[in-house]
């Protein structure tokens, strides 16, 4: 009788629920592999020494999320190219990764870190640096990035030599 058929759903009481109790359990897929993998398109990391400040990422970004700031200390390091570095506004970025595909020196990369929560709007615009690396619970640590180019020397001390 089709009235009693739905009662078959009771057998789920014995099974393990597929709920991910998030803050206490991590998101694992069917084969117990930890997600997200390295392919996730999260926040940027930019190697400021390899980057030559060519401005291609700014041109391809259709959200005008990428602007540039000059870092004077880079001149002493004798790097080739112009010493402007991209500042990314995550109030515009859609994490599509076109800038990473077009970057000639492959200095701009997307890390799988995606967690950034804050009640202050200005915390979402900063310059990514090479210190941004994948951390195990995918939080974006805001002290690895530069909120304005002047404190480059504070972070990268050897810049003055």
């Amino acid at each position: 009788m089709s009235i009693l058929k739905p009662l078959k759903a009771w057998k789920h009481l014995a099974k393990k629920p597929h709920t991910i109790k998030y803050p206490y359990e991590e998101h694992v897929d069917m084969e117990e592999k930890r997600l997200p993998t390295d392919r996730l398109r999260g926040f940027h990391s930019n190697d400021l020494d390899k980057c030559i400040g060519c401005g291609l990422c700014g041109k391809i970004c259709m959200n005008k999320a990428i602007t540039y700031e000059e870092i004077p200390e880079l001149k002493e390091k004798g790097l080739k190219g112009i010493n402007i570095r991209p500042v990314i506004d995550y109030g515009r970025c859609c994490y599509c990764g076109l800038c990473v595909e077009i970057c000639p020196t492959k200095s701009l990369k997307l890390t799988p870190n995606f967690k950034l929560i804050s009640s202050d709007r200005k915390k979402f615009k900063f310059m990514p640096t090479q210190l941004v690396t994948k951390n195990e619970n995918f939080e974006v640590d805001l002290d690895a990035v530069l909120f304005n180019a002047k404190d480059y020397s504070k972070k990268f001390g050897e810049g003055e030599k």
């Binding site: 058929k5 078959k8 997200p36 391809i60 259709m62 859609c94 599509c96």
Partner: protein
Amino acid sequence: MKEYELFIGPQHPGITGNMMYHLWVDGDTVTKAECNVGYLHRGFEKLMESRLWMQNIPLVCRICVPEPDVNEAAYSMAVEQLMGWEIPDRARYIRTIVLELARISAYLMAIGSYAGSIGIYTIPQWSMGDRDYILDIFEQLTGARVYHIYIWPGGVRWDIPADLPHLIEKTLNYIEERLKLYDDVLFENRIFFDRAIGVGKIPCNKAIEWGVTGPNLRACGYGYDVRKLEPYAAYDEIDFDVVSYPDLGKFDAHEAGDAYTRMIVRRLEIEQSIRIIRQALKKMPEGEHILKHPNWLRWKVPEGYAFSRVESSKGEFGYFVVSDGGLKPVRIHVRGPSYTHGINVAEKILQGANIADVSQILFSLDICPPDIDR
């Protein structure tokens, strides 16, 4: 009887997303219905005219939210038509797999929200959970859960990782068992028969004239499916059959074009999609996964009018791309399937319906408001 006016507004759990129906009600039956849309109108076509050809891909996949790959595939095929490109075979097979996985996840969401509208709340809890396993596959394949930005003009962005086919196989087996449970709780449930049979009937002789497409048209008895009419990607090398009204497999067919038949067609098409993915995984050739793409900043697409058509879970998705040989498109017009389902068809079949069935009819039509507003 005095006639009342009801507004099922944008903030209403019984409406699929952001749209509003203005109902004139006489007692319990709806005498007149008028649709009011535009809550999600971001002016996509205006934005697309001011972006380069490659910059439109991340924009295009935001049009239909439950199934973004359909837009990327349709836009890429239109641009490939204009450029005269032939994408590599491996890319055609990967596109088929991605499109079918997106179809299964969209159908699971449609079945979940439909069951929620007739009060069987077990199914949404299950189907949203099962859909999440497919999003896990997408995350490892394309780098994002929902907006994949993976199908590009010229092929697909990255190749399939080596261990993914095994995971896809495992997920498909898991979903196949779950479908049996869905049958017990929803599709062979007495409540579903009483609530859905004969409700929201689309008159089958007028279905094509009203512009009904996709599962709603196949529920009216017409076996038309864009994957068979105009095969794209790798659908011509894969055999699958089109589910339409009279032969509904193990379910017995009652009336053509009502909510019951539409949901049964969607349920059976999940099995077809699973079949397609399995064949595509077996037959996938080795080789390149994308053509060498030109410099995006100076990429000019030759002049012409191109129209590409893809079968989405909601119906027939069409992209009309007009280019005058410049860096930016002149006009891109998106034909969303819910454009006709949500406005003309819904207004006509809501007349004479019971108020309690209004949200069930709208969910059985599977209306996706961003298709309408773009």
